[in-house]
């Protein structure tokens, strides 16, 4: 039992390292399968000769950094604005749909919302006298604005939850009271006292968001610019190119993407060090803003950001609704707000396809989430206290997927592992398990240790303490962790694409492929299903504990 965490860590870290190593070899010209045995810089020369590379790098940086930094600012502002009105438990309920919906489904919905013929343009049409969709490129725009908006709708709720969890660890009410008694406005207290106290707990989640933002592929295929695309999309195109020799410059591109992510993390770390160096002097100056309006500027910025956040959240909800409506539309001419005629045709005509994809997605999600939950319980049982190396479980989330997944596929093939459902499932575990463990570890460690000692004193051995006390008390967090696992698995695009060699069709791979097609009704069907599976899992995580513990006030929190 003692060795469980170490073994699991090794099982998480090894694929990332091996995949990176393999990709790195290909980036320097070594690819025995293609008959390339000698190291060379040729792949890098080819990479830099590819048209649009500079544009791709710039787009990735601008849209990624922009989305991540704005998301952090808006999440902080929203939490600050809702402070006192929003407990972590209630927030989890409100934010659940945003966390549950896969990136690709949300991106498709956002496209339905933002497109020239989308809901926003339809709502504006009567005012602007539009009878035809306007000509502006409001999705796939060359600046990556639509992509940034899509990323932010997913990232703000995630960061809000992380911030709320961190706030639970500090005496927030006392810090606020003390700061305000010293003459600082609420926004100023946040910036000067609260943020420095919680930042250590936000650092790694923010890095995960940064890396995802600069390297995401599925959202960028749907919402991002097409020519040049962001770097992740460009590299994916090269990897799947019919010209096998393109794998070498693609690998160099994948390493470049990993380097980009590393550079962004280094920059974030540098900014943090700088703030830590300059911060104390700034705080010591004791500036409270103009007399009579302490901290008005910070307050104004925070209010503006909170407003923007609410608008984005509303857009996200509309995007999810748009998915369902498009899938049920028969005729929906511009500029009508709702379809003229409704039909189940899109669902019935595509039924054989989506049934297969749904089965595959549910099988993969059910298996990886349940296995991850069992492994997380084993981990926490073996390592009740936080370990130094625990941050390593985030490694698969801190290295861009594209940097190691293609290499990992090569490693799998050489180990005799076919590109099939099993390989895809193993690849998904790299991303499902860390989220499940992170979600469960807080509540697990928050169980009063005296409760377990009481059970032991009553004669309950380790197994009975686990099964009869800890697991039932943790029913809700266990199911929540499982639902998060389901959502992470259903949302995976690149692991399914690379480790399944394109032969494993899930709701996500189908939805991403169909998003570029012309029939919105069909992509509406796939994206709706893609959103529905994790939403149902979240609903189970709310309803089952509430029913199970309906007569237990200390545990039935969902409907209070």
């Amino acid at each position: 039992m003692r060795a469980v965490p170490a073994l699991l860590l090794a099982a998480l870290v090894a694929p990332v390292v091996l995949g990176l190593w393999q990709t790195g070899r290909a980036a320097f010209g070594i690819m025995p399968a293609l008959g390339r045995e000698t190291p060379s810089l040729e792949p890098w020369r080819q990479l830099f000769a590819l048209p649009g590379l500079g544009g791709s790098i710039r787009l990735s940086l601008v849209s990624g950094l922009g989305a991540a930094i704005l998301s952090l600012l808006i999440a902080l502002a929203l939490v600050q604005a809702l402070q006192g009105r929003l407990s972590a438990a209630r927030a989890a309920r409100w934010l659940a749909p945003f966390l549950a919906v896969p990136h690709a489904a949300l991106a498709i919905g956002m496209a339905f919302l933002l497109a020239p013929s989308g809901w926003i343009a339809r709502a504006l049409a009567p005012l602007m006298d539009w009878t035809r969709p306007p000509g502006a490129a409001s999705v796939n725009d060359p600046w990556g604005m639509a992509l940034m908006l899509g990323l932010m709708v997913k990232e703000i709720p995630f960061l809000m939850l992380v911030i709320l969890a961190a706030l639970g660890q500090v005496p927030l009410a006392r810090i606020m009271a003390m700061g305000r008694a010293l003459g600082y406005g609420p926004g100023a207290v946040w910036l000067r006292l609260v943020l420095p106290a919680i930042w250590p707990m936000l650092r790694l989640p923010f890095w995960v968001v940064l890396v995802y933002s600069v390297s995401n592929v599925d959202m960028a295929i749907i919402l991002g610019p097409a020519n040049p695309p962001v770097l992740g999309v460009a590299v994916t195109r090269w990897f799947v190119s019919p010209d096998l020799a393109m794998i070498l410059p693609a690998s160099a591109g994948a390493i470049l993407q990993a380097g980009l992510a590393g550079a962004v993390i280094a920059a974030a770390w540098g900014a943090e060090r700088l703030a830590a160096r300059l911060g104390p002097a700034w705080l010591a100056r004791g500036g409270r803003g103009p007399a009579g309006a302490p901290g008005w500027m910070a307050g104004a910025v925070l209010r503006l950001a909170a407003m923007a956040g609410l608008v984005l959240m509303a857009a996200g909800l509309l995007a999810m609704a748009a998915l369902a409506i498009w899938s049920l539309a028969f005729r929906w001419p511009f500029p009508l707000i709702l379809p003229e005629a409704w039909s189940l045709n899109a669902w019935s005509m595509t039924a054989p396809g989506w049934r297969r994809a749904l089965m595959t997605s549910v099988l993969l999600a059910g298996t990886t989430a349940s296995l991850s939950l069992a492994l997380a319980v084993a981990w926490l049982q073996a390592a009740p206290a936080r370990m130094r190396a625990e941050w390593l479980i985030l490694l698969p989330l801190l290295v861009p997927q594209i940097g190691f997944l293609h290499g990992l596929n090569v490693v799998f093939l050489r180990a005799g592992l076919q590109a099939d459902l099993l390989a895809v499932g193993m690849g998904q575990m790299l991303f499902v398990f860390p989220y499940v463990l992170l979600s469960l570890s807080g509540p697990w460690r928050a169980v009063d240790p005296r409760l377990m000692r009481t059970a032991a004193a009553l004669g309950a051995g380790p197994w009975r303490r686990l099964v009869a006390v800890r697991l039932p008390v943790l029913l809700r967090p266990l199911l929540t962790a499982w639902a998060i696992g389901i959502a992470v698995s259903v949302a995976q695009y690149l692991p399914t694409l690379y480790l399944g060699a394109g032969r494993v069709a899930t709701l996500t791979t189908e939805a991403v492929t169909l998003a570029s097609g012309s029939d919105r009704r069909v992509s509406g069907v796939y994206a709706s299903l893609q959103a529905l599976v994790p939403l149902l899992a979240y609903a189970c995580a709310f309803v089952i504990p509430a029913w199970w513990h309906r007569d237990r006030r200390a545990l039935a929190g969902a409907f209070r």
Binding site: R450, L451, A457, L458, G459, A460, V473, R552
Partner: protein, 211 residues
Amino acid sequence: MSLILEHVTITRPDGAKLIRGLTLNVAPGSVTTVMGPSGIGKSTLLDAIAGSLAPGFALSGRITLNGRDLTALPPERRRIGLMFQDALLFPHLSLAGNLAFGLDPRIRGRAARAQAVDEALAEAGLAGLGLRDPATLSGGQRARAALMRTLLAAPEALLLDEPFGKLDMSLRDEIQRFVFDHAAARGVPVLLVSHDPQDAAAAGGPVVALA
């Protein structure tokens, strides 16, 4: 037959000694009170006796209960009942479920176990409340339920970690009487840890001051 500590020394992970060479003999049916300011290691001493010393802490010396050497036994096999400041009833079980969780496994059969639980509830003035959610009980009811749960496990000794600290004055006397009378009736040795001289006075047994 009693709880005996011989030359017990507890070393913290940083090497500092919390308890030095403590020797104690707690007689059956009597209450020994260990007093001292907070941070002196009172709770750690109870952890050591109960077998739940945190990792990194080291124990030397010998602890025996009714002639059995406890030192190498896991907590669930020591037959030592624990009571804390909070009742720590299991939140997912009913009141009766909590008592049944503690009830000695040697009592077999649904009917016999249900009867034992009912008798214990009646003894604690909780008759008819067996199906209640522990979160809906009053503080005094919870404290009595916690003691009955502990006693149903048929412990051979009781460790009380400031068990009366959170009770208001009106309840305090009542619960103290309840706990000490039941312990005396069962003839088990009781070790009480407290920083309140009034607890020691109520216990009426020997007092050991840690310093």
